[in-house]
Symmetry: C2
Subunit: 286 residues, 2 copies
């Protein structure tokens, strides 16, 4: 199947990400409907032309009309929604998601899903420190990565379709990863960094230092302003990988501490040289 302009797209969960999908796809002239239990979000989206139709509960007709359903829900809510309402799906519909963890979600959803509906998982690696449809913007996709996360159950066609979705949304990079690769990667580049930022803020009351703060501290703690409901769920759902990452990081920090304690200047320099050299790989992609 191809993503064509005459397809109906239904967005379930009209938050920051769902709203940003809606805005990006609406601009491409797709017909967009949305379901969100928050009436204010639905009204806002309707009034601002972000969606064509909106519902505050799982409307059987709206679901049955959709060729494509995008889930912008938290992982546990997402699973329950599928269990409760999947009988409304149109035969042949494709569903996708925006969930930040995959291993614990994708296989379960695919196992419970009807045979005539395909779930192709995706992770749009974009975000902001603000929430809700009112803050949604497709601009956040422009410099970001879109990850397509298929399993053996997915067809080549849906994988290609999902890659096209990422490009249509405006992502600069579209990549395919297995759920396991995805979760290992995300544990390191995203969840560990959020843990560190939180620990930096909570290890002591340092708010009196705000006057003296250098950019480095601001940069490291920007993400310490964190949605505790979403991130506690994401951490717990990727627990094994994240525990591993925390351990690996802590061991390394302890090693650097040891070099400092024994005045090993050359050892410290070696670490910094390696750090500078590796960081260069990330600069290139900026």
């Amino acid at each position: 199947m191809k993503l064509l302009n005459n397809q109906n797209i239904l967005i379930v969960g009209l938050g920051l990400m769902g709203g940003s999908y809606a805005k990006a796809l609406k601009r491409l002239d797709f017909h967009i409907e949305a379901i969100d239990t928050n009436r204010e979000s639905v009204d806002y989206a309707l009034e601002n032309g972000i969606i064509d139709r909106g519902y505050t509960s799982p409307d059987a007709e709206a679901i049955g009309r959709a060729d494509v359903v995008v889930f912008g829900l938290y992982p546990a809510v997402f699973k329950k929604w599928i269990a409760d309402y999947q009988h409304y799906f149109k035969s042949g519909a494709v569903i996708t998601d925006v969930t930040g963890v995959k291993g614990c979600i994708v296989y379960d959803i695919q196992a419970m899903l009807r045979d005539d509906v395909e779930f192709i998982a995706a992770h749009p690696m974009a975000g902001r420190e603000v929430y809700g449809v009112k803050n949604s913007t497709e601009k956040m996709f422009r410099d970001a990565n879109f990850l397509v996360v298929p399993t053996e159950k997915n067809t080549e066609e849906s994988i290609e379709w999902c890659k096209e979705l990422g490009r249509l949304l405006g992502f600069i990079n579209v990549t395919v990863l297995s759920p396991e690769e995805h979760d290992r990667m995300i544990g390191f580049v995203s969840q560990l960094t959020h843990c560190i930022a939180v620990a930096l803020m909570t290890c002591s009351d340092n708010t009196h230092l705000a006057d003296y703060t250098a950019d480095s501290f601001r940069d490291l703690t920007r993400i310490a302003n964190i949605n505790e409901v979403m991130w506690s769920e994401l951490f717990l759902l990727n627990k094994e990988a994240l525990l591993n990452d925390i351990d690996r990081f802590t061991e390394e920090l302890t090693e650097i501490r040891g070099l400092l304690e024994k005045d090993d200047r050359e050892g410290l320099k070696d670490k910094m040289r390696l750090s500078t050299q590796r960081r260069a790989a990330f600069n290139k992609k900026n």
Copy 2:
């Protein structure tokens, strides 16, 4: 004494910081001379009108002419320079510095310095990931903090003079701290963050993840591109405070790890709520 336009300013060490001081002060019509052992740096600064006169060795006449001497040298080199060349200073000269650690420097310099010359320490909390006079720019001062770090040996006059220097350079905040307060603060907001960024890069070879990197990881590792000569020296000179900070941070990260391990969702949320609440204090100052 006041900072007046007919005073001669000598900058010793024409790197990123010395060059940025020169540019900012030249624009205010001060007469600026500079000493740097690197001929290329001196030539570049002369050709680009950043300084009025330049020398590649401690020129007795240039030093003797200066009303103000700004040291942009690494800590150990700074101390040796004072020991070797302070006999050239004009009587009544004021000297200041840009060194990122204070306790181990300020008292030693003041103890060895001639009685007719005053050293008032300062720390311009600005920086870039690039080095040298060619990358110098007074723009980096605009959103940054200038710390004046006096001891009991300093006069009120020189403290006021140094605060005025910070304002003239264009810093948005000028604050006075003791050497001990300075080093505790800098250990936490600057050195600990650099340790963490280095450990994130060196704990595993993660360069293959560059394609998937979210902004959070880029932000946390920007400073992992690090000048190993300068930072290993700064770490070692503030060893005690930094070891303490690393320990406090590691304990906290380990506590968060424990919450994750035992599936304590509410405990994780509490940490995140505290983190978000504290981070707000830093937002206000942005």
